[in-house]
Every structure is written in C-alpha cells, then in structure tokens.
Symmetry: C2
Subunit: 126 residues, 2 copies
DNA sequence: CACATTGTTTACGTTAACGTAAACGTAGGC
DNA sequence: GCCTACGTTTACGTTAACGTAAACAATGTG
C-alpha cells in the first residue's frame, strides 16, 4: 500500500508543480528517486518528502530549511552524541513557528476588521 | 505620542535590518518618508508600515504582497465601487493564512513527536 | 581644523528557485 | 516507419531582495 511508485509527471501534476521543479529538487539533493533504466521512479517516501518540502515553502521556508526540518525525523540523526543539539534545534524551530503563528493570527484579526468595515459600508450603501 | 519621528539608522537597528534595506523599500514604493534637507525622516506611520512588511516577510509573503495586505486598511481603497472585490480579496488572503496556520500547526505537532523521542532517548542513556 | 559619524546617490554583484529551450532517447499505437 | 507522449541532460535566462562598494555632503566633537 505504501510501496506504490510514481512517475515524475504524476507527482508534478498531483502537486501542481513542474517536472523541472522536481528534478531541481533532486539536483539540490532534497530527494533521491531510484531509476528504472534512466527514468526516475519515486517511492511513497519520496512523495511525502516533496509534500513536506512544499509545506515548508508555503510558510516561507527555504528549501534547505525544509529538509533540515524533515531530516529531524531521520533516525540517522538520533544518535546519542547529538541528542542535546537536536533538542536545541527543535526548540529553535518551534519558537520561530510560534512567532509565525502569532503573526498569522494578528494578520487574520486585521482582516476581520477590514471585512467588518466592508460589510458596514455595504449596509450603508443599501 | 504617535507623532514621533525616526532616523533611518534608528529604524534599521530597531528592526535588525540595514539602512540599505529601508532605502530599497522606498525605492520599491513601499514607504514614503518625508525629507529634512536631503535626509529621510520617518513618521510613526512609516515605522508601522515597515513593521508590517517585516511581519509579512516572516510568514513568507513577498514585499508586494505585504503592501497589498497593508493597503487593505487604507481608506482610499474603501470606495463603494470596489467594496465587493475588496471583500473577495480579504477572503482570499484569509484562506491562505488559514492554510499556513494549519501547516504550522502540523509542523509543530511533528516537532512535538521528535522532541518526545529525543527525551526518551536521553532517559535511556541515563 | 581634523575627523568620525551619519547620511546621501549610483551602480554593479549575488543568491535562491526555478523557467525556458535545445537536442536527444524510448516505448506504444496506427 | 512515423508520430506522439513521456522522459532525459545540459545550459543559459530570470526575478526578488537585497549586499557591497565608491564617492560625496552635512554635522557634531575633541
């Protein structure tokens, strides 16, 4: 079920990006699809990585920063020697995300006001 | 109280950006400080604009998009002829912000898991 | 007065994240 | 056998958002 595989154009159309973008991500070392002949074949894991990269992008992360976050899940990084620095990294990310969340909530509150003024304006126009 | 004025370097250091950045924003028409002689003098309003631009940047907005949002508050845009399109714009912004908020919450949940694993790892090491 | 600080304009340089295009391979269908 | 769809590599182009540097003005301080 989770061992499905995808072509490059399948993923491109699913995520609304171009094949160029996907190859670019590979060129940057963000994903490592296997090959059948010379064609790229993407696993379910590759697909999730792309999905997470795009999620990172939506909230203003650079590609590098996105993979940094994604790789936090990678057990390879979880050797004891680096557990403390890992926790520190997680804390940093968390703080930044929380500020972003506050920023978004502030902006949403602002939009609420604008909308209220708009609707008030429409009532008066009636 | 709100009629204070600021020099370019004051604002730069307050916001942790360079004077070059502030001049660049002016060059792009994002702010319009007045002049005393040839020196730029920033009002409290200018200062808020910069603050809001930076808030937009933090959540991944382009400079243009930030001012677009900021200018929603501008009464000049609130003429009846455009009230409907204004409401539509507000709705678009809101939806995107809500998705960003979900993205952030998802990512925070992920970080929670990672942190839990870390702490578990540390306990076992003790 | 020298000089350090803070400001100015003008202009070329840089990085990230792709876009665009050329030139070609391969597999399936008529 | 040719076309079409889908894939490949290589490489130059583009845009946003500044950085960096040069060359100069204004202003206060020892």
């Amino acid at each position: 079920m989770t061992d499905r595989s995808y072509s490059i154009s399948q993923l491109a159309s699913e995520f609304g990006i171009t094949t160029r973008t996907i190859r670019f991500y590979e060129e940057k070392g963000l994903i490592h699809p296997r090959r059948q002949g010379q064609k790229r074949v993407y696993s379910a894991g590759d697909r999730v990585r792309i999905k997470l990269i795009l999620r990172g992008k939506r909230i203003g992360m650079s590609l590098q920063e996105s993979v940094e976050v994604i790789d936090l899940y990678d057990p390879a990084h979880n050797n004891r020697s680096q557990l403390h620095s890992l926790i520190h990294t997680v804390q940093d990310k968390r703080e930044r995300l929380l500020r972003q969340k506050r920023d978004i909530e502030d902006m949403l509150a602002g939009l609420d006001e604008v909308q209220a003024l708009c609707e008030q304006g429409l009532e008066n126009a009636d």
